[in-house]
C-alpha cells in the first residue's frame, strides 16, 4: 500500500461519500419535518440519472407519464373537495399546477429534440420532470396520514419505494445507463490522477450543502421548515401549515436526490433499482447523525464512503457486510449515550 493507492482510495471514498452525504441530509430533513423515514429517497437518484440518460438518448422518459398521472389524480381528489366546499377560486391554480404544467412538459418533450439540447438544459428538464414527483407523492401518500405513528409512515414509505422500483423497471427497462461525463479534464495530485468529474461531484455537493444552510438560515420558508422540525404543533399555531411544510421538504428531498443522480450518472452505471442501495448508505450516515444532526449525518456519510472504498481494497467480498455492520456499534453507542425519548403522538 503506497501513497498513490491511499490517495486514490481516499478520493474514491470522498466522491461516493459526498453523494451519500447529500442523501443523508435529505433523509434527516424529511424525518425531522414529517417523521417519515423516506426510503424512496434513493429512487429519486435513479429516476434523475435515468431520466437524464433517456433524454440524452433522444427518448421521452417514462417519468413524464408518472408526473401527468400523479398530477391528474391530485387534481381529481382536490378538485372534488374544492367543489364540495364551493371554493371555486382555488380551482384554476390547482388545475394549472397539477394538470396544465405536466401536460405542457409532456408536449414540450415530444416537440423538442431533447437529445440535441445542451447539457445544462437537459439537466434542467430532468429536474423539472422528476422533482415535482416529490411533493405529489407527499400529497397522495403521506399527507392523508400526516399525524399517523412513525411505524405507519414507515410502512407507507416502503410501499412507495416498492411502487417506484416497479415503475422504474417499466419506464427504463432492466438495463442500466450511463451518461457522458460533464468534463473530461483530469489533474495530477501527488502522482495520482484526479478526474475532473470527481472534483465536480465534491464541489457541487459542498455548494449544495452551503446553499441548504443559507436556505434554512436566511429564508422565511427555510425558517418555517426548521420551526416545524423543532415543534410541529407550535409551528402550526404560528401559522405554518403542516401540509406546506411537508410538500416543501419533499420537494427539497426530491431535488437533492435528482441532483445526486445527475452527479453520479457519469461515474457509474445506474439501474432502475440502484437507488435503494445508494439511499441505504446515505441512511447509515443519517443514523450516525441520529436522524437529527445535519453535520454529523454528513460526516457519517463521508465515513461510510471512505469505509466502503478501503474495505473494497482490503476485503472486497465483505464490503457491504463491513459497511452495514457499522450501524451496530453506532446504534449501541447512541443508545448508551442518549436518553431514550418516547415517540410523541399527536
Amino acid at each position: 500500500m503506497d501513497l498513490q493507492i491511499l490517495l486514490l482510495l481516499g478520493q474514491d471514498g470522498i466522491t461516493n461519500g459526498a453523494i451519500y452525504a447529500l442523501l443523508a441530509l435529505a433523509l434527516v430533513l424529511v424525518f425531522a419535518v414529517t417523521r417519515v423515514i423516506f426510503i424512496p429517497q434513493g429512487e429519486f437518484v435513479a429516476y434523475g440519472a435515468l431520466t437524464l440518460a433517456a433524454l440524452q438518448a433522444g427518448k421521452v422518459p417514462g417519468t413524464i407519464w408518472l408526473l401527468v398521472a400523479l398530477g391528474a389524480t391530485i387534481a381529481v381528489l382536490d378538485g372534488f373537495r374544492l367543489l364540495r366546499e364551493k371554493r371555486y377560486a382555488k380551482l384554476p391554480p390547482l388545475l394549472i399546477f397539477n394538470v396544465g404544467l405536466p401536460l405542457l412538459a409532456a408536449a414540450g418533450l415530444f416537440a423538442l429534440p431533447a437529445g440535441d439540447l445542451p447539457l445544462w438544459l437537459q439537466v434542467t428538464i430532468t429536474m423539472l420532470v422528476v422533482v415535482p414527483l416529490g411533493p405529489m407523492i407527499y400529497r397522495l401518500a403521506f399527507q392523508p396520514l400526516a399525524s399517523a405513528p412513525v411505524l405507519v409512515l414507515l410502512i407507507v414509505s416502503v410501499a412507495v419505494h416498492v411502487a417506484m422500483i416497479g415503475l422504474g423497471l417499466l419506464f427504463f427497462g432492466a438495463e442500466g445507463s450511463r451518461t457522458p461525463p460533464f468534463t473530461e479534464i483530469s489533474f495530477e495530485l501527488a502522482g495520482a490522477p484526479l478526474q475532473g468529474q470527481t472534483v465536480l461531484v465534491v464541489v457541487a455537493s459542498a455548494a449544495l450543502i452551503i446553499g441548504l444552510y443559507f436556505f434554512f438560515e436566511r429564508t422565511i420558508y427555510g425558517k418555517a421548515l426548521r420551526a416545524t422540525a423543532m415543534n410541529r404543533t407550535g409551528a402550526r399555531l404560528m401559522g405554518i401549515p403542516p401540509a406546506l411544510a411537508g410538500k416543501l421538504c419533499l420537494t427539497l428531498a426530491a431535488a437533492i436526490g435528482v441532483f445526486s443522480g445527475i452527479l453520479i450518472a457519469p461515474i457509474t452505471t445506474i439501474y432502475y433499482d440502484s437507488g435503494f442501495l445508494i439511499g441505504l448508505k446515505g441512511f447509515v450516515g443519517a443514523i450516525i447523525g441520529g436522524l437529527a444532526s445535519y453535520p454529523v449525518a454528513a460526516l457519517g456519510a463521508i465515513l461510510v464512503g471512505l469505509l466502503e472504498s478501503f474495505s473494497s481494497f482490503y476485503a472486497s467480498a465483505f464490503k457491504e457486510v463491513i459497511v452495514f455492520t457499522l450501524i451496530i456499534p453506532v446504534l449501541l453507542w447512541r443508545s448508551l449515550t442518549s436518553r431514550h425519548v418516547e415517540e410523541e403522538e399527536e
Binding site: D12, T15, L169, E175, S311, S312, Y314, A317
Partner: protein, 379 residues
C-alpha cells in the same frame, strides 16, 4: 341431468385439448435477470406453432427472477395446464429448484440456465432435466486456451460476489492451475456497486498480464471502465454473461479489444461456411431480427431457440409412444430428447446421452472480440 351434460362437456374439452401439445414456459422476464429473460421470451414467440401436424400451445409465465415463483409456476403449469414439457427457467437457482417438481410429476424439463449442476451428477431426478446453455467449464476452458496460446503468464480475477462470480472462480482457478497459469489476485464486487476502485487498484498492484472479469450483463462493464481509467494496458477477458448489446452500449470505447467466449450464434454470419452451426444459427438470427430489428439478437434468446429445436426433433418421435397429455407421451419425449444425436442448434451441435443432458462439444463455443462496438469472431 345437468351433471351429465357437464361431464360430457368437460370430456369434450379434454378430448380437444388432448390433441394439442402444451409447452409450459417459466422465464425471468422481470427482476434482476430480466435482460436475459426478455430475449428468451421474445424467442418463445418465434417457435413453431405446430410440430408433426400437432398444434403446439406455449403457456408463458414470468417468475420475476424469483426462485419461489419459479417453483410455483412450474407446479401451476404441470397441475393446471397439464403441460407435456417445461422450458425454463432463466437463472440457475430457479432451474435447480424446479428439478424436484418436474421429476416428481415425470415431466421433461429443458433449463435455459448455465450451471452444470442442473444436469450433473446424473441421478433419478435429473433424468428428466435437460439444458441448452453451455457449461461454465466449457467457456472457462476456451478462455484459458486463448490465454495460454497468447503468452499470458499471470492473470487476475474480478468477479461478482454471488453464485455467478463464485462459480466462475471455481472453474477458472481449477483450470488455471492445471494449465500453469498464475492467478495473482482474486477480488469480488457487487452487481449494484457504484465504484470498484478498491478492487481495481489491488488487481493493478499485482501487475497481471491479463484480467478476467466474472460478471454478467451491464454491471460487468464497471470494472472494465475503472481498469481503463486507471491505465491498465493488458488484455481484459469477460465471460459469456455479457454477450448482449446493452453491454456494448454501456461499455462503449472502453471495451475495444475485450475477449470473451460465447455461443456461435453471436457471430453466426462470420462463421466459416463448413461450420454445422452456421446455418441453424443464421436462421435463428434472421427470424429474430426480422421481428425485433437489426442487431437485436443475443446469446440468451438462442438458448430458448435451442429448446425449441430439441422439441422439434423429439416431439415426432414421442408421438409414436402416446397422445399428448399422457404419461407415455411425456416419457417418450424424455427418451427422445436423450436420444438426440448430431442435431445442430443455434449454439452448437447436440449429442445427448444418458449421462450428458447437454450434449455440447467444443463446437458450441467461439472466442469473440469487441471491435468498433460490435462482436467479431476472434481468429
Amino acid at each position: 341431468m345437468r351433471k351429465k351434460t357437464m361431464i360430457a362437456l368437460l370430456s369434450a374439452i379434454a378430448a380437444t385439448a388432448q390433441a394439442d401439445i402444451n409447452v409450459g414456459v417459466t422465464l425471468s422476464a422481470t427482476g434482476p435477470a430480466a435482460s436475459l429473460g426478455i430475449p428468451e421470451k421474445n424467442t418463445i414467440d418465434l417457435l413453431p406453432r405446430s410440430i408433426a401436424g400437432q398444434k403446439v400451445n406455449y403457456i408463458v409465465l414470468d417468475d420475476a427472477s424469483d426462485t419461489t415463483t419459479a417453483v410455483k409456476n412450474t407446479r401451476k403449469l404441470i397441475s393446471e395446464n397439464k403441460v407435456d414439457v417445461v422450458i425454463g427457467s432463466t437463472t440457475t437457482p430457479n432451474a435447480l429448484a424446479m428439478i424436484d417438481v418436474a421429476a416428481e410429476s415425470e415431466t421433461p424439463m429443458i433449463a435455459l440456465a448455465a450451471s452444470a449442476r442442473i444436469v450433473e451428477p446424473m441421478d433419478e431426478k435429473r433424468r428428466w432435466v435437460f439444458k441448452t446453455p453451455q457449461n461454465d467449464a466449457q467457456m472457462a476452458t476456451a478462455i484459458i486456451e486463448h490465454m495460454t496460446s497468447n503468452n499470458v503468464k499471470t492473470v487476475a480475477y474480478i468477479g461478482f460476489a454471488d453464485a455467478y462470480g463464485e462459480g466462475w472462480w471455481n472453474e477458472f482457478s481449477k483450470l488455471a492451475e492445471v494449465r500453469k497459469l498464475k492467478v495473482v489476485a482474486n477480488e469480488r464486487f457487487n452487481r449494484t456497486d457504484t465504484s470498484v476502485t478498491g478492487q481495481v487498484l489491488k488487481v493493478l498492484a499485482a501487475r497481471p498480464d491479463a484480467i478476467l472479469i466474472g460478471g454478467a450483463g451491464t454491471p460487468a462493464a464497471l470494472p472494465q471502465k475503472s481498469l481503463k481509467e486507471k491505465g491498465y494496458k493488458g488484455t481484459i477477458y469477460q465471460t459469456h454473461g455479457v454477450a448482449n448489446n446493452d453491454f456494448l452500449r454501456i461499455c462503449g470505447k472502453d471495451c475495444e479489444g475485450t475477449l470473451l467466449p460465447s455461443g456461435p450464434v453471436l457471430v453466426a454470419a462470420q462463421l466459416p461456411a463448413d461450420n454445422p452451426v452456421r446455418q441453424t444459427a443464421g436462421d435463428y438470427v434472421a427470424r429474430y431480427e426480422a421481428v425485433h430489428g437489426k442487431g437485436s439478437v443475443n446469446a440468451f434468446g438462442g438458448y430458448a431457440w435451442d429448446a425449441g429445436v430439441l422439441l422439434g426433433q423429439a416431439i415426432p418421435l414421442a408421438l409414436r409412444k402416446g397422445a399428448p397429455g399422457s404419461r407415455e407421451f411425456r416419457a417418450g419425449l424424455r427418451d427422445a430428447l436423450e436420444a438426440t444425436r448430431s442435431l445442430p442448434g443455434a449454439h452448437g451441435v447436440f449429442n445427448m446421452s444418458a449421462n450428458d443432458h447437454l450434449g455440447f462439444d467444443q463446437r458450441a463455443r467461439v472466442m469473440v472480440t469487441i471491435r468498433d462496438g460490435a462482436w467479431q469472431l476472434a481468429r
